[in-house]
Symmetry: C2
Subunit: 207 residues, 2 copies
């Protein structure tokens, strides 16, 4: 079984990362696995262990950090959040490509542990479109929206360091584009050296 | 207009490069241009200037070499063959992705002139399949086929230096795979820095 890819997806709040991942998982449940984070925050109603999150106590989480069991971790509003290495490894070993939705700061940590991570930055075509989407949600007040735009202004500087820039204008086109990226990555020579070696062996008699 | 990519395609004789390029051109004539070589060999019946080849005298060809007008060139059976830079540049400037079918040795020259060249090595899934295809053509005798296999044994060593390894098992799948590669390359961050800059400008007020 060929090892799957690790695909880290970041992007502005309102870029549509969540929908993108969910739709991709619905379309190809056998090809992809969505990484599940560990957190010390309390489960909300309906959240299940190992589905939305792996729920941990502060002590358990800090033990995971010390044991090197997390690919990356951060503190957000007083709680730990992190990516367990074990789940990612297991899924990749089973041949699935693992999707990791992650903040820009976390990507550096991930790249350090797994230099072969494929990194994708998702953006709406324009910032006015981003603003429209954030307003359209109807769940955030003007001040919160401004905060998200300010955050986007910070995050955009990291976009240059990503492998790919995925422009999410139409969701179905964006999914197709993401699948093109994944297809191309599987065809990269460095992910197919086994094939070249096999051809070379077959040609071995001739040199 | 965004500049097109330069895509250099190599591979074993019998790998199906020609059919692949032809079908891709038929499917998407507006997206791609096939690079036309210059040569000093005589036109065969039915061959037209600027369609199959740009036909040149030895003197004209050597002037092109001296003037740096060729991306790469080589001598084959006593005739010069080369890739005129002008045609490639014009097509790329017009936004088309230029396909260049080229021997493994020529790719080094191309990469030197255009470091952003996307390189694709095409292979049948196995060497026994390659042998079957070469035999199936019915146009070559056993000795010629053995020579091609021997040549494949030389060429396979270069495969490691290509960006992508395209496995041509089913032709329609291979075309789809090649289009995935092209789509992904267009989405590479380095080919979309203009978009990131524009987003940054839009966010300019905010920092």
């Amino acid at each position: 079984m060929k090892k799957g890819l690790l695909i880290a997806v970041s992007g502005f709040s309102g870029a549509g990362k969540g929908t993108l991942m969910k739709k991709l998982m619905d379309e190809c449940p056998d090809d992809f696995a969505l990484s599940i984070s560990a957190t010390t925050r309390q489960p909300r109603e309906g959240e299940k262990e190992g589905v939305e999150y792996f729920f941990k106590t502060k002590e358990e989480f800090e033990e995971m950090i010390d044991a090197g069991e997390l690919i990356e971790h951060a503190v957000y509003v007083g709680n730990y959040y992190g990516t367990p290495k074990k789940f990612v490894d297991e899924q990749r070993e089973s041949g699935k490509d693992v999707l990791l939705e992650i903040e820009v700061q976390g990507v550096l940590q991930v790249k350090e542990k797994f230099p072969d991570t494929v990194t994708v930055f998702v953006t709406p075509p324009t910032i006015s479109e981003l603003r429209k989407r954030l307003t359209g949600r109807g769940t955030e007040d003007a001040e919160t929206i401004e905060k998200r735009i300010e955050r986007a202004a910070e995050e955009v500087r990291y976009a240059y360091d990503y492998d790919y820039l995925l422009i999410n204008d139409d969701i179905d086109k964006a999914i197709a584009d993401l699948r093109d990226i994944v297809s191309a990555e599987h065809q990269k020579e460095e992910n197919r050296t086994d094939v070249v070696k096999r051809l070379q062996d077959e040609l071995g008699g001739k040199k």
